[in-house]
């Protein structure tokens, strides 16, 4: 555990150091290149800002209006029927739309059941192997003006579903219920 945390402290500085040293060896004009990239980066942020505003407002309204709760209430009996822990149904849905809301639910689960409980472990794994599909897809596709996204959503949802199922099954296999 300690080792992992130490490594994670090293990743960013080590990556930056490696790139800078490599750039030095290749005689890249470091600062000039950095500024060029940073300028492009700022432009990118400005370009995606409208998408971001639209996205976050939609997700907030979806949550605040109570539709998200309705949907999770609807899915809960289905989940229970499949042998999926009902307490995790909201997390698996919200994870698709909002990373910060999902983190909030994760911490609720830690608070109520403890991080070392079955639910705590499953939700930890679920958070590690899934992504905020709606957010990522909108950001990347809309940034280049793609409207027809074809099978991307289907594939992403399938992968997500497999992740949720795998989290439950693997945790049960490795740690028991």
């Amino acid at each position: 555990m300690r080792l992992l945390l130490v490594i994670s402290d090293f990743i960013i500085p080590a990556t930056v150091l490696l790139i800078l040293c490599f750039g030095c060896l290749k005689r890249v004009k470091l600062y000039e290149a950095f500024l060029e990239g940073a300028q492009e980066g700022l432009k990118t942020v400005a370009e995606i800002l409208p998408t971001l505003i639209g996205l976050i407002v939609a997700v907030e309204v979806f949550r605040a209006g109570g539709l998200l709760d309705l949907m999770t209430d609807f899915i809960r009996p289905l989940a229970e029927g499949l042998g999926f822990p009902a307490e995790l149904a909201p997390l698996s849905i919200i994870r698709l739309v909002s990373s910060s809301a999902a983190t909030g639910l994760l911490l609720d689960i830690f608070q109520n059941f403890g991080p070392d409980s079955f639910l705590g472990r499953v939700s930890s794994v679920m958070m590690s192997c899934t992504e905020t599909v709606f957010y990522t897809m909108s950001l990347y596709f809309l940034s280049v003006g793609i409207r027809k996204t074809r099978y991307t959503l289907g594939c992403a949802l399938l992968a997500n579903f497999v992740g949720v199922a795998a989290a439950v099954i693997l945790v049960e296999m490795v740690f028991g219920k």
Binding site: M1, L4, L5, S8, V16, I19, F22, G23, V28, F34, E36, G37, A38, Q39, G41, T44, V45, L52, I53, G54, I56, V57, E60, V61, F62, R63, A64, G65, G66, L67, L107, F110, P115, D116, G120, R121, S124, V125, S128, C129, T130, E131, M137, Y140, F141, V144, K148, T149, R150, Y151, T152, G154, C155, A156, L158, A159, V162, G163, L170, V171
Partner: protein, 191 residues
């Protein structure tokens, strides 16, 4: 598709709120959502500009090119329609590598640039290409090996062994990526 989901979120959200008497909360969400998006963009601006600068150094030093070259067999398999040494491949490689290491903020600019390059290869500008679908599917299947945030939260809530889930997490991440790739490959073949 995205239009439909977006509209569903807003229209559905407002109608539900009308039935449940939660209009005040929706009002707050509309105003607050816009503000938190701008706040997020300001936070993002600094980090993304920083990483874009560093990435540019890596690009000019030829590091990203050699990274994508090392990934050639995987790239050939995943993105057969993207020519070797095309810039799209380099940015995709940088995006995957950053995601893998858990550098989400570095992954975003590389990913957006990859989409721009992929769009240049696209003939129907409004329709996603197979390479785009594959890229985003892999991206959304989660590549990150160790989610440090989760470990930190587990520690905070008094877990006896915060890192005990890492192995299972890696196995599950591997599975989701594998399933995503297989599904995207099958769908691509079907047209």
């Amino acid at each position: 598709m995205l239009d439909a989901i977006w509209g569903f979120f807003l229209i559905g959200g407002i109608l539900t709120a009308a039935f449940l008497g939660r209009m005040d909360m929706v009002t707050a969400a509309v105003i607050g959502g816009g503000r938190s998006a701008v706040e997020l963009a300001i936070t993002m601006a600094g980090v993304i500009a920083m990483w874009s600068g560093i990435l540019k150094i890596a690009e000019k030093g030829g590091m990203i090119d050699s990274l994508s070259e090392k990934m050639t067999p995987a790239m050939d398999f995943l993105f057969p329609s993207v020519p070797r040494h095309h810039k799209a491949r380099q940015y995709i490689a940088a995006n995957f590598a950053a995601n893998f290491l858990g550098l989400g903020w570095a992954a975003t600019p590389a990913g957006l640039m990859a989409m721009k390059e992929l769009q240049k290869l696209n003939k129907e500008k409004e329709r996603a290409t197979g390479a785009m679908c594959m890229f985003l599917t892999v991206n959304m299947s989660s590549l990150q090996l160790v989610t440090v945030n989760i470990l930190a939260y587990r520690t905070e809530f008094g877990s006896a062994a915060p890192a005990e889930i890492v192995g299972v997490g890696i196995a599950a991440t591997f599975l989701t990526t594998l399933v995503g790739i297989i599904a995207a490959k099958i769908m691509d073949r079907e047209g």
